[in-house]
Each structure stands twice: as structure tokens, then as C-alpha cells.
């Protein structure tokens, strides 16, 4: 066991910290507004210019072939510096690992570099109105048409879809199939003929999500990712690998926890101070757990269902961090500010990416081996 970073890792951290200190802009408008979307793309281009937008990718696509540990270091610095949210998140975190794993050389060359430079922003299209947590019950269809396909149906909870350029999602290419079988993974431009994007207005104003309606949308055959009918496996394959880690890197929570301790120091209330200290320690525990997971991955052990333990832990940790902060803010908790935004976002944690109820079922059945 060696919990010291190597000189090269420390040098990388120093480089990132320095660059961010010099380049991080002030708070940007929400990326779910037209103006904010463009400003966030601009920021992504700036990151790409310093080859910091997708460090874990191969050089040829704009990355540095960085290790997971380097990635975690980058994230710690990124969040500590209060840098903007990643408007290209869906693409670089959700889609790219799948393209790198299953994509053809043409697909890699076509999509990855533009993604790395935020020239093309991607929207995810997983859920459907009747398939929220239950992805396997997807109904949207893909029917053959010459060398290509015709997509029909409706997707919902598509983040970024209002302004994004491309989308990706699962469609049922085998009408006779059921549940996980007969699904294929499609990539499609959001300005294709037959696609209608309807923003979902949220009560706090912005429209972070959208519904996407597909009316017989033509997609050429080379925009299927991975094997036909294997969409489910293609989509899930990367979740238990590094992706499970890179998606929710500890840096994000440590940055909040450090700010929470600052709030607690200013308070005279020992009860809330102890709560803040515990939340900070839990963030630290999540960070340590991540490094331990990295070591297991490097030994070739997949995370598997254990990633469900992480999902429940980080989502409830994020909520606790913000709930304690609001208590510490007292009467100011009624004011809309950074802490409140964080709280509202944290409240979604136990819901998306598989509700915590489903995650607990997985933990009980697949980690502990309890009966279905």
C-alpha cells in the first residue's frame, strides 16, 4: 500500500491546478439556457485547447491516455477550482467509453474528436414515458429501410437535448423481442427530419430535460453502435468498468465537504459541527473507497454489482452535505443560492441512474445473495 502520489502525478496535479487558476471563468449562466449553453461550449473548447477536456482518451482523439488516478486528480482539482459543469458530459462520460470499446475505427474518427472539442454536444435518450427505472421495457422501434433504419417512438428525460446536436439511445430493432433482447444502440443527429424536441419545463424555471419524438426518422446503418440486437449489453458493458468510477468522482464531493467545513467553522453549534465533520469524513471515505476500487480494477477485478453500493452512498452523501449546509445557514436557507441549487440537484441523486430502491435490491440480491 502506498498512498503517496508519484512525482509525475504530483506534477500533473500542479499543472492542472495552475491552468485552472489562470483560466476558470466566473459563474456562467445555466447550461440549459441558450446563452449558457454556448458559454459552456466555449469553456469546453478552452479545456480542449489545453488537452484537458478528455484526458483519459487516447492522444489521437484529443486525450492524454491518462490513468484513472490521473483522472481522479484532475477531477479533484477541477471541482476544487469551482470550474463550470461539463456541458459535454453525456458524450464524454456516457457515450465515449462505449464508442472506444465497441465503435468502428470510422465511428471513433467521426465522433470522438468533435466531441472532445465540444463541436458536437450529445444528448442521452435512455428513458421512455413508460420506462423510467425499468429500461428493459423500452418500446421505441427501429425498422429496417434499405441500408439504414427508421426510428419511431418517444424518449424522455433527455438531458441537454434542447440545444444538443446529436443523441444516442436504445431502440427495439427486433419487433418480436422482449425485455433486454432485440434492442440496438443508435446514434442520430437531433436535426434529422422527423425528430421533434419538446423541452420539459421545470418549476424552478430552466428546462434541463426534454422529450424527443421520433416520427419515422431515417438513420444510416453506420450509426448503429456495436452489434445489432446487442444494444442492452453494449450500453451496460462499461457501467461496471471504469465508467462507474469516472462518472461520480470523489473530487466533486470533497470540494463541497471542504466548503461545508468552512460554514461549520463559522457556526457555534456543536451539533451541526459534528454533523458537518461526519459528512466530511464520509466524503473522505468515498474518496478512499474509490482509490481502493481503482486498485482492484488495475488487478483486473470488475466492480460489478458493487457499483450499486457506491451509487447509494454518493447520492445520500451528496444530499446530507447540502442538508447540513442549509441547517447551518439558518434563516438564509430560504434564499436561492449555490447551496440551494446544490440541494435541489442532490435531491435527484437517489432518483436517476437507477433509483436507490432498485440499487438496494441489487445489493441485497447480487452482492449479499438474498432471494429474488
Amino acid at each position: 500500500m502506498d498512498l503517496n502520489f508519484t512525482p509525475s502525478q504530483q506534477a500533473f496535479r500542479a499543472e492542472v491546478r495552475e491552468w485552472l487558476a489562470a483560466n476558470v471563468p466566473g459563474p456562467l449562466p445555466s447550461m440549459d439556457t441558450a446563452e449558457g449553453f454556448e458559454l459552456h461550449r466555449e469553456w469546453e473548447r478552452k479545456l480542449a485547447g489545453a488537452r484537458l477536456s478528455v484526458i483519459s482518451w487516447p492522444e489521437e482523439f484529443g486525450g492524454r491516455s491518462a490513468s484513472i488516478t490521473d483522472w481522479l486528480i484532475f477531477e479533484e482539482e477541477y471541482w476544487a477550482a469551482g470550474a463550470p459543469g461539463r456541458v459535454s458530459q453525456n458524450g464524454i462520460f456516457l457515450l465515449a467509453p462505449t464508442i472506444l470499446h465497441y465503435g468502428t475505427d470510422e465511428q471513433k474518427a467521426r465522433f470522438l474528436p468533435k466531441m472532445a472539442r465540444a463541436e458536437e454536444i450529445w444528448a442521452q435518450a435512455w428513458s421512455e414515458p413508460e420506462a423510467g427505472s425499468d429500461l428493459a421495457s423500452l418500446r421505441a422501434t427501429a425498422t429496417p429501410d434499405g441500408d439504414g433504419w427508421r426510428l419511431s417512438g418517444q424518449k424522455t428525460w433527455s438531458s441537454r437535448a434542447v440545444y444538443a446536436h446529436w443523441g444516442f439511445g436504445l431502440f427495439r430493432s427486433d419487433p418480436a423481442s422482449e425485455r433486454h433482447r432485440g434492442l440496438s444502440y443508435f446514434l442520430f443527429p437531433l436535426d434529422s427530419e422527423g425528430i421533434t424536441v419538446r423541452p420539459i419545463a421545470q418549476l424552478d424555471g430552466e428546462a434541463g430535460f426534454a422529450e424527443i419524438f421520433f416520427d419515422n426518422v431515417y438513420v444510416p446503418g453506420d450509426q448503429v453502435l456495436g452489434e445489432l440486437g446487442q444494444g442492452w449489453h453494449v450500453a451496460m458493458a462499461t457501467t461496471s468498468s471504469e465508467r462507474g468510477l469516472t462518472l461520480r468522482s470523489p473530487g466533486r464531493f470533497m470540494a463541497v465537504a471542504d466548503r461545508l467545513l468552512e460554514l461549520a467553522r463559522q457556526s457555534g453549534d456543536q451539533t451541526l459541527q459534528d454533523a458537518a465533520v461526519q459528512a466530511w469524513l464520509d466524503s473522505d471515505a468515498y474518496r478512499l473507497h474509490t482509490f481502493a476500487a481503482v486498485a482492484r480494477l488495475e488487478e483486473g477485478v470488475e466492480l460489478g454489482p458493487a457499483s450499486s453500493l457506491m451509487k447509494v452512498f454518493w447520492s445520500e452523501l451528496d444530499l446530507a452535505l447540502h442538508e447540513i449546509a442549509l441547517e447551518l445557514r439558518g434563516a438564509d436557507a430560504a434564499l436561492a443560492d449555490r447551496w440551494l441549487d446544490g440541494f435541489l440537484f442532490a435531491l435527484a441523486g437517489p432518483i436517476y441512474a437507477g433509483t436507490n430502491e432498485i440499487q438496494r435490491n441489487i445489493i441485497a440480491e447480487r452482492v449479499l445473495g438474498m432471494p429474488r
Binding site: S137, F209, A334, L335, A336, T355
Partner: protein, 317 residues
């Protein structure tokens, strides 16, 4: 020893609920986010017509009105009602010309005091109490967690409002109970029709137990709020402690109700397609109003640990 409300007290609550069903539909709460006039519009007039805004001038006690305040919470009524109908009559002299205006719904009051630093809906106020009557005060608006409640700060030395603040805390606690009951009912209804994995989600035990936990918290916060109304009404030595206990209990129950309701609804709970988010925001706003829980906990700690243990009316002296 009889811990129950009179027929009249229940009747008043029923009447208020009935008139709010008409005068304060969710659409009105929704409109209050953008149209200032709505915050002191229909619902306000309806409560004035019922004589509710002038109830205290007619010697109605908080014990008489606490059940009605629950209904006001359940309907998520906007506007500075507590400040106008509860606090002002306690702070203003009994012969103040403002009182009849308040009773008729022609005067809107916003209050700042040690217990409540932000002036609610001061943009609509005819009268500012800080806590004394004040004029030409420079106001700064702050973005509020609840778009139907606009918050302002004022450069002005504050003083504690004492018993008036305790009354406000209990009226707010009662609203938190009503909000919680609405959230439980709405979540149970949604869980009864939303299907996942081929079953209505309300049939999953994990979800049942989450909602059961909310029901338990609300059930046992309720008598604490009612007792506080009693203690304040009768000026018992434990009145302040009981008011703090009420605000903490109701705030905690409502906080859990809000979190659980959103978990039950999932992402759609954030959207404009449902009214849920209006009720959630109100819960978060009221938890911070008229003494946040940290403040009330400090008072409880002092009362129960430092001071000698005063027995409330329900414990033999």
C-alpha cells in the same frame, strides 16, 4: 384533561378549507410565482370575507385557529398571512387604525424581527413592522427558494418580537403539518397509478415503508403543535419551549415528507406538469421562517437542560 378541539374550532377549519378549495386552487399558487397581485388576491379576500384575517381582533385565540392554519398550509396559500393576521395584531396597539383595515383585508403587513430577519412580500406591504411601525425603509430583495414568497432585507436595527414570534412559529408549524398531509396524499395517489416493472409502484414494500415513516412523523408532530397553541393561548410558563418544540417537530416531519414525495414521484416531480414542486418549495421556505430549527433547538436545549424542568400544563406541577 381533555386534549381535543371544540366543534366550533373544527367547523372554522372546515369552512376555511372549503372556501380555499375554491379561492386557492393550485393554478393560483402557480400564478403567484409571476403575478405579484395574486399573492394578496383571491385567497386573501376569501379569508378576509370569512373574518379569518380579523379573527384575533374578535378574540379568537391561536387554539381556535390552529386547525385552520393547517388547512391554509394544505392549500399552499401565498402571501404574508401569518405576519398580517397573527403578528401585527399582537404588535400593534389595540386601538391602532391598522387593525380594522387588516380585518377587512385592506392592509398587508410585513415583519422583520430578531426571530425572522427577512421581510416577506414587503413589495406588497402597506405596513412594515421592524418590529415597531417603520417608514421609508430601504429594502433589498433576495432570490427566494419559494417563488411565491418574495424576501427582502432592510437596514434596520432589529428587536425580538417575543410572544408574537412564538405565535407566528406555531401558525407556521401548523401550515407545515397541512403541507405534509397534502404531500402524503398526493404521493399515495401517484404511487397507486404509476406502473414500473409491471406493478403499481405503491405495491412495493420499500415505498410503502417510506410513506409509513412520513405518516408516523406527521402523526406525532401534530399533538405537539396543538399543545403549543394551547400553551400560548393560556400564557403557560412553557409556551416558548412548546412553540419551539412545535416548529422543530413540524419542520422535521415536513422535510421528510418533501424528500419522500419527490422520491416517490421521481424526475417528474421537478417538472411543470405537476404542482408538487410548489408544495416542496413552500416546505423548504417555511422551515427557515420564524426561527429555523437550529435556533429553536438552542432554545429547547436551554429550557430543558439549563433551566429547571418546568412541567407543562399536561404534567402535574
Amino acid at each position: 384533561m381533555r386534549f381535543a378541539f371544540t366543534e366550533d374550532q373544527r367547523l372554522l377549519a372546515g369552512t376555511v378549507a372549503e372556501s380555499l378549495a375554491k379561492a386557492c386552487p393550485p393554478a393560483l399558487v402557480r400564478a403567484a410565482r409571476t403575478d405579484p397581485a395574486v399573492r394578496t388576491g383571491e385567497a386573501w379576500s376569501a379569508l378576509a370575507e370569512l373574518g379569518f384575517l380579523g379573527a384575533q381582533m374578535e378574540d379568537f385565540t391561536l387554539l381556535d385557529t390552529v386547525l385552520a392554519w393547517q388547512e391554509i398550509g394544505r392549500a399552499c396559500v401565498p402571501g404574508p398571512l401569518v405576519e398580517t393576521a397573527v403578528v401585527a395584531p399582537l404588535l400593534l396597539p389595540f386601538d391602532s387604525p391598522w387593525l380594522p383595515k387588516i380585518a377587512e383585508g385592506r392592509a398587508v403587513v410585513s415583519v422583520k424581527c430578531a426571530e425572522n430577519p427577512y421581510l416577506l412580500d414587503a413589495d406588497l406591504a402597506d405596513l412594515l413592522l421592524l418590529p415597531e411601525l417603520a417608514e421609508d425603509v430601504a429594502l433589498t430583495e433576495h432570490k427566494s427558494v419559494d417563488a411565491t414568497r418574495r424576501l427582502f432585507s432592510a437596514e434596520w436595527a432589529t428587536a425580538p418580537a417575543g410572544a408574537a414570534a412564538d405565535h407566528a412559529a406555531v401558525a407556521v408549524a401548523a401550515q407545515l403539518l397541512g403541507l405534509s398531509r397534502w404531500l402524503i396524499g398526493t404521493s399515495v395517489a401517484y404511487a397507486g397509478q404509476r406502473k414500473q416493472f409491471g406493478k403499481v409502484i405503491g405495491s412495493f414494500q420499500a415505498l410503502k415503508h417510506q410513506l409509513a415513516n412520513v405518516a408516523i412523523k406527521v402523526e406525532f408532530a401534530t399533538p405537539v403543535v396543538h399543545r403549543a397553541a394551547y400553551s400560548l393561548t393560556h400564557g403557560l410558563p412553557t409556551a416558548s419551549r412548546d412553540a419551539s418544540a412545535a416548529k422543530v417537530a413540524a419542520g422535521g416531519a415536513a422535510g421528510l415528507a418533501a424528500r419522500t414525495a419527490l422520491q416517490v414521484h421521481g424526475g417528474i416531480g421537478y417538472t411543470d406538469e405537476l404542482d408538487l414542486f410548489l408544495w416542496l418549495s413552500r416546505v423548504w421556505a417555511l422551515r427557515a421562517a420564524w426561527g429555523d430549527e437550529r435556533w429553536h433547538r438552542a432554545r429547547l436545549r436551554a429550557a430543558l437542560l439549563d433551566g429547571e424542568l418546568l412541567d407543562g400544563a399536561v404534567r402535574l406541577p
